[in-house]
Amino acid sequence: MLKIEKLQVSYGGLRALSEVSLEVGQGEFVAVVGPNGAGKTTLFKSISGTVPVESGRITLDGADLLAVPPARRAHLGLAHVPEGRQVFSSMTVLENLEMGAHTAAGKANWEENIAQIYQLFPRLKDRTRQLAGTLSGGEQQMLAIGRGLASAPRILMLDEPSLGLAPAVADDIFEVVQHIHQERGLAILLVEQRVAEALESCDRGYVLESGRTVLTGTHETLVSDRRVQQSYLGM
């Protein structure tokens, strides 16, 4: 469905991604792991179009995504849940979710989606009129994911949803993501530094280091790889 080929991105001459290739199939759960500064967020931003791409191709269902203006990409079924949550802090919880439903698919299925989002995150339901900026970190992450789901996406892109959360809250979030994937068959592209959790749930994964894919494979091959075990899983 989503296919990235030989993607290259630089910031002012410094290369952040070189020759990165990646694929997400229908209903697949793909994880991208790697240390700080590996280029994971840059990868997401190039998919969404908030960072200029130097060379390479990104296609969605075979169509050139780079030719689509950034603001149109959400309408094609990409939901980007950004690093650091980035909720609209001056707007209420409900308004944030409404902004997620800016896409045609999101508007058409609003009633149904909002009910499901509240079912996944009951804490949001109790706080519909609260300003998003006053939510706790965990609640903001729930809102960011809920806002992504409200667009009725085909691929949910999650950039470090566990960032800055207490382990128990992060576990809850992972569980919900798993649940969404299994129940609805929604394709998921997850970036995480918590490698163990990310690899545990994914179908396939990529290890990114200094802007390069150093390893890729299915869930089984990755968790049994010696290098992954030593550098990331602490075995």
């Binding site: 203006p69 603001a71 980035q86 802090s89 001056s90 707007m91 308004e95 667009s151």
Partner: protein, 313 residues
């Protein structure tokens, strides 16, 4: 004779005038506040768009037949409303042609986020509007003559000038409609989202540059309507914008930069300060009083009097 002491009569009269004048100031400030809140662009040309609004209302009233059709009582109000869409189109076009190149996503990563380029551009637009106005409209002061400005409602012991009262009510109505638009409609909410977090707005599929264009054009149109209303009792020429720019910036800074409701109360306060200063200062110094308030705010309460900064619109 009036049963009230003269000083009290003066005070009440000044308060009433201050509130009425403040209503129109509030509306212009809301327009400027909307533009700054959404685009983070300091628009030096706002006063000159106000001037355009005055002339748009004037020509609509005199030459487009609004005066003939709606009469001298309702005509000026209709003309002021018409100034909105007319100037909206001009602002939309100018944003598309010029401002979009140095603001919004085009400014991302530019030097100082494009602020230098924006300052120079809006200053340039201001100069072009002033000189173009001089060329097209002439330097002779104009006004929209209506018998309302010579009539008053009298509620013991205060006179309410009819043109000012009507301008006040219309300004309040327009500000209320804008408030509802921003808080209830899908477009308005998308504007607020684009103001709050442009990157996240793009991830939601909101076209941030279009949102900026809409905010700019609405902000200008609202200020233009305020101009059309003021034109009922205030003579104007192509440089009149300069007199109002200081009022608008003081109001917006008073209200807390970026807060639209704050801008409303800020503008209201400026009207009151301006009128009340005439009780103790010579009338020529009324705009100096506003400037002093501006400086005091910048020095002691840069986040504004009313605004919860950018947190809430």
């Amino acid at each position: 004779m009036s049963p009230y002491p003269l000083w009290l009569e003066n005070l009440l009269q000044t308060l009433a005038t201050g509130i009425m004048v403040g209503g129109t100031y509030a509306l212009m400030c809301v327009g400027l506040g909307l533009i700054f809140g959404v685009m983070r662009v300091i628009n030096f040309a706002q006063g000159d768009f106000l001037m355009l609004g005055m002339y748009a209302a004037f020509y609509a009233f005199t030459y487009l037949g609004v005066g003939a059709v709606f009469g001298v009582y309702f005509g000026p109000i209709v003309a002021a409303f018409l100034a909105g869409p007319i100037v909206f189109v001009i602002a939309w076009f100018l944003h598309w042609l010029l401002l979009a190149r140095v603001s919004g996503t085009a400014a991302q990563g530019a030097e100082a986020e494009g602020h230098y380029a924006q300052l120079i551009l809006t200053l340039g637009i201001a100069l072009v509007l002033q000189n173009g106005g001089l060329l097209i409209f002439g330097s002779w002061p104009q006004s929209i003559r209506t018998p309302l400005s010579n009539e008053a409602w009298f509620i013991e012991p205060v006179f309410f000038n009819k043109s000012r009262m009507v301008a006040f009510c219309v300004a309040l109505g327009v500000a209320l409609v804008l408030y509802l638009f921003m808080n209830r409609s899908g477009y308005g909410k998308a504007l607020r989202a684009a103001a709050d977090n442009p990157d996240a707005a793009i991830y939601m599929g909101i076209d941030v540059n279009r949102a900026h264009r809409l905010a700019f054009a609405i902000g200008i149109a609202v200020t233009a309507i305020a101009g059309g209303l003021v034109a009922m009792y205030y003579p104007f020429q192509p440089y009149v914008g300069l007199e109002f720019v200081i009022i608008m910036y003081t109001g917006v800074v008073l209200g807390g930069l970026g807060s639209i409701m704050g801008a409303f109360w800020g503008g209201m306060t400026v009207g009151l300060v301006q009128q009340l200063s005439t009780l103790v200062l010579p009338i020529q110094l009324q705009n100096t009083a506003i400037f002093v308030v501006f400086l005091l705010i910048v020095l002691f309460r840069p986040q504004g009097l009313f605004g919860r900064s950018v947190e809430r619109m």
